[in-house]
Symmetry: C2
Subunit: 210 residues, 2 copies
């Protein structure tokens, strides 16, 4: 009997290291699936449909929402973002764990919908100065965009207390170790090991046969 | 602000490796405290009062129960066993984690009394043949005693599904790794990091000061 795949939600303000950490996690365990979000925002140079995002028109996005095909969705800076439901449910059935790189609004909705299958982790930056520095060294955004991101970051951070686990990302290797540790422990939870029922049945048969 | 110490309950049938694993864990993290049980059974050769058990008369044990000084207690094979409450509460206040090597009856009672502070792990043997072998190679018990233990083991195993985590101990090093992983992950849970409130307050002050 295969266990149901779990849903690992990573949230953090932009620049706290969430994307790096989720990439490291996927490289460490290639059986995991990354939930590619759909969005109505325009692709940036180099972004590929289905890799960074599923790029959709407002009409197509709204149709998916109306048909219940989004596990969660929210509007950020005038664009819509959402997690398509079907691939997540298929992964869960197949016992594949899914990683979500989504904000607190998405995290709340997925948690509401999928309760016991969700493991949520909030990643905090070591300081706002460091967050600012990381955003600036990306070098592709204007001061105005960065100011907007910082306001959004503050809002995002205000939701840290809704998460199961919290990491302060002052050292990416240590945070990665902690991320692996959390995932490994969660997989050892009783309800995530459905094969144990048959195993204990076999132990009981061994008792009977003595 | 110090976090409250957590209560790590290890249960398993006799011979499944629980005592070895709890010793390994205490050696790995010497800040942890082992909850020494009180018992009315007679000391065996080599056992020291306060190390293996607190050896108490029935009257003294019953007085502790009557005065609410036992966190849990139960009768096994005509003897009473219990976990004194005061050292556990002192450890929790001091932020020290306590390891309990107790059976399902004790585990249930501690969980009832201490809910959110409890992390419970059940250790299963790889097979009953192996359990039997481990009990026999200890070499200090009669066949009759071993038969009694096996009956108790079966009863103990029947409670595996009441625990948060389950380990099948077919390799003690791997089980030890898993045990450390569980403890490390549990310490990363949001509610076990009370220092985060002040940390996030400082982040907000940094936002304000920009």
């Amino acid at each position: 009997m295969t266990r149901r795949g779990l849903l690992l939600i990573l949230s953090s303000p932009s620049g706290a290291g969430k994307s790096t950490l989720s990439r490291m996690l996927m490289a460490w365990d290639p059986t995991m699936r990354f939930s590619v979000s759909a969005t109505t925002r325009k692709p940036r140079p180099g972004e590929v449909d289905g890799r960074e995002y599923w790029f959709r028109s407002r009409e197509a996005f709204q149709a998916m929402v109306d048909q219940g095909q989004m596990l969660e969705h929210a509007e950020v800076f005038g664009n819509f973002y959402g997690s398509p439901r079907a691939p997540v449910e298929a992964a869960m059935q197949a016992g594949t764990d899914t990683v979500f790189d989504i904000d607190w609004q998405g995290g709340q909705q997925v948690k509401q919908a999928m309760r016991g299958d969700v493991v949520s982790i909030f990643i905090l930056p070591p300081s706002i100065a460091e967050l600012d520095r990381r955003l600036r060294t990306r070098g592709q955004d204007s001061d105005e965009v960065i100011a907007g991101r910082m306001a959004k970051s503050r809002d995002e951070i205000s939701h840290w207390a809704e998460y199961d686990y919290v990491l302060v990302n002052d050292d990416v290797e240590r945070s990665f170790d902690n991320l692996k540790t959390i995932l490994t422990a969660e997989r050892l939870k009783r309800e995530r090991q459905p094969q144990l029922s048959a195993f204990v049945r076999a132990l009981n048969e061994e008792f009977e046969a003595r």
